[in-house]
């Protein structure tokens, strides 16, 4: 069940330039969450901006019933979000969308770029709790942007980093690590979230080695629940119908996209 809830903010920190982490108690939403789902957030109390903003579940604390989001300030909605203080409320709708499938895999690969790492953290934790071996390729422009590093370490994943400026890990695109460092025969499934060119490269890799996988897509949203048809998208150019990223996704099978 999804619902709308005013979450009590218990922590709100700046993690790096333009990157923030906010945690709030959401007793009705938190128990229903799955990795890959998102919440639809009212970022301010006025009509500007008018619409909610979709943000992935970065993690969920099942004991506290809290939800944590990782967000990057890119425009006025996320800018306003930074003003919400601890002890204030954040209004969210959730959990929304279709999350990642959680097959009975022994070893999977996660590839995250920039703030696209967000849904992969929650996923990695849940997969680890199910005893799955999780390898994570995590890329960003600079080392300061690898803000999920500590979480990934504490989750206990095999972690490889890439930065464009070489300030941490491999110097270059995170997808270049795929061919250098990953043995495709060790991997049963690939999950990826990040900039579209990155995800395309991950899909190419998966296709090449016949590995199945899932991607998390983004599209501008109004309703977030499948009612407005605003977040439509053709998964393949030749498709004659549109999917709704908010409801049919945001997670889609790599087999379905092109």
């Amino acid at each position: 069940m999804s619902c709308m809830e005013n979450g009590l903010v218990i922590s709100h920190k700046k993690l790096g330039r333009d990157l923030y982490e906010i945690e709030f108690i959401a007793p009705r939403i938190a128990p229903c969450c799955q990795p890959g789902q998102f919440v639809h957030v009212k970022t301010g109390g006025t009509m500007d901006p008018l619409l909610r903003r979709p943000l992935s579940l970065y993690d969920v604390d099942e004991k506290l019933n809290s939800i944590t989001l990782l967000y990057k300030v890119v425009g006025k909605g996320t800018e306003l979000l930074t003003k919400i203080k601890v002890k204030e409320n954040i209004n969210v709708m959730g959990p929304l969308g279709k999350g990642f499938s959680l097959g009975d895999y022994k070893s999977v690969l996660l590839v995250g770029g920039g703030v696209g790492i967000a849904p992969l953290i929650y996923l990695a934790r849940v997969l680890r709790e199910r005893g799955c071996k999780v390898t994570v390729l995590y890329g960003a422009a600079r080392s300061e942007e690898l803000v999920a590093f500590d979480r990934l370490r504490s989750i206990g994943v095999e972690l490889m980093l890439a930065t464009m400026d070489g300030s941490a890990g491999y110097k270059g695109l995170v997808t270049e690590l795929l061919y250098d460092k990953i043995n495709p025969h060790d991997i049963e499934f690939i999950y990826t979230c990040g900039p579209e060119p990155m995800m395309v490269a991950v899909k190419d890799y998966a296709d090449k080695y016949g590995i199945k996988g899932e991607v998390s897509l983004e599209e501008n949203m109004a309703c977030g629940v499948g009612a407005c048809l605003g977040c439509a998208r053709k998964l393949k150019p030749e498709d004659d119908h549109y999917v709704k990223v908010c409801k049919d996704g945001p997670v889609f099978s790599m087999a379905d996209i092109k």
Partner: protein, 315 residues
């Protein structure tokens, strides 16, 4: 009589309305295209308590809608160019309506055609099925090439299309007027002449946004329909004008975000209101507005909502 005795109880209130034969348990509906087929919001709100659910615009044949991007936020509003993506009337009646009927929802169909003939054929199909309380005629959708806008901007066609639909159905017929016209009263009169039972107003204003980075229109369709609080003043003005000149009940909407907005519409002449973009901001809005109106009525000692309809109109 003391104040306490004088005070109304919420249960004494009469908030049901008659919209040209369409009886709504309360005056708050949700607007077409903003509430899907109801089920999308079932987790958030008891959709059977909403005054009426106007489902997504439906055409004779299925439509896949416009290319993307289809929406963009604007100051206190948004533009949409969905392009009437829908599965067609047959699929709607077969796959979606039963759910709504079972839930006890007051369903209002919203139909659009490429030709007057198509409007009539959809209406006939609706007439032959059960569970729809009224038909809203979308003669004002700015996002489809054929049909759509031009129907709503020409008084003669407005009259014709209403007549054609009326011939096929015994349900209340509620044409939805386009605000993109010089004289809304003329269009409203034409709708009345065609036999309209009520008027729905307003649909979206035609607008656009430019992507300055890529030097092109943001929407793939170039133009889209502007909705949300930004258009509220225009909606109120048109309803006020029509209320003064045309004796048909009005289903008013355009930018309603709270019960005070709803009261503005009612006082400007709307018998009932519709919530569109507001649903995206707050999926519980329709019922919160019903509560707000009730509280207001108790406070102001107003027993029947009808006392408020047109209360601000200077005759």
């Amino acid at each position: 009589m003391t104040r306490a005795e004088n005070k109304l109880n919420e249960n004494d209130l009469d908030i049901s309305v008659n919209l040209g034969g369409l009886i709504l348990k309360n005056p708050v509906t949700v607007a077409s295209g903003t509430f899907g087929y109801g089920m999308e919001y079932e987790d958030f709100v008891d959709i059977s308590e909403i005054g009426g659910v106007i489902v997504k615009g439906t055409t004779l044949e299925p439509r896949s809608g416009n290319p993307i991007p289809r929406i963009v936020e604007t100051p206190a509003g948004m533009l949409n160019a969905i392009g009437l993506e829908n599965p067609g009337i047959d699929v709607f009646l077969r796959d979606f309506l039963p759910y709504l009927k079972e839930k006890g929802v007051t369903v209002i169909a919203n139909i659009a055609g490429n030709t007057i003939e198509e409007y009539a054929r959809i209406a006939a199909k609706i007439e032959n099925s059960e569970g729809i309380a009224a038909i809203e005629l979308n003669i004002s959708c700015p996002n489809v090439k054929k049909g759509g806008l031009q129907f709503g901007t020409n008084p003669d066609t407005v009259k014709e299309v209403v007549e054609a639909v009326k011939r096929e159905t015994s349900l209340p017929v509620i044409p939805k007027l386009s605000p993109n016209v010089t004289d809304i009263v003329e269009i409203a009169k034409a709708a009345k002449a065609g036999g309209a039972d009520a008027l729905s107003m307003i649909n979206t204003l035609m607008g656009m946004a430019i992507d300055i980075k890529n030097k092109k229109p943001v929407l793939a369709n170039i133009f889209g329909g502007l909705s949300g609080p930004a258009i509220k003043p225009v909606a109120l003005r048109m309803i006020y004008q029509v209320y003064k000149e045309v004796t048909l009940p009005i289903l008013g909407g355009g930018g309603i975000l709270d019960y005070k907005d709803a009261l503005e519409f009612i006082m400007a002449g709307a018998t009932a209101v519709s919530i569109g973009t507001g649903n995206f901001v707050n999926p519980c809005l329709a019922l919160e507005i019903v509560e707000g109106i009730k509280k207001y009525m108790v406070q102001e000692n107003i027993k029947s909502i009808s006392e408020l309809v047109g209360a601000a109109v200077i005759k």
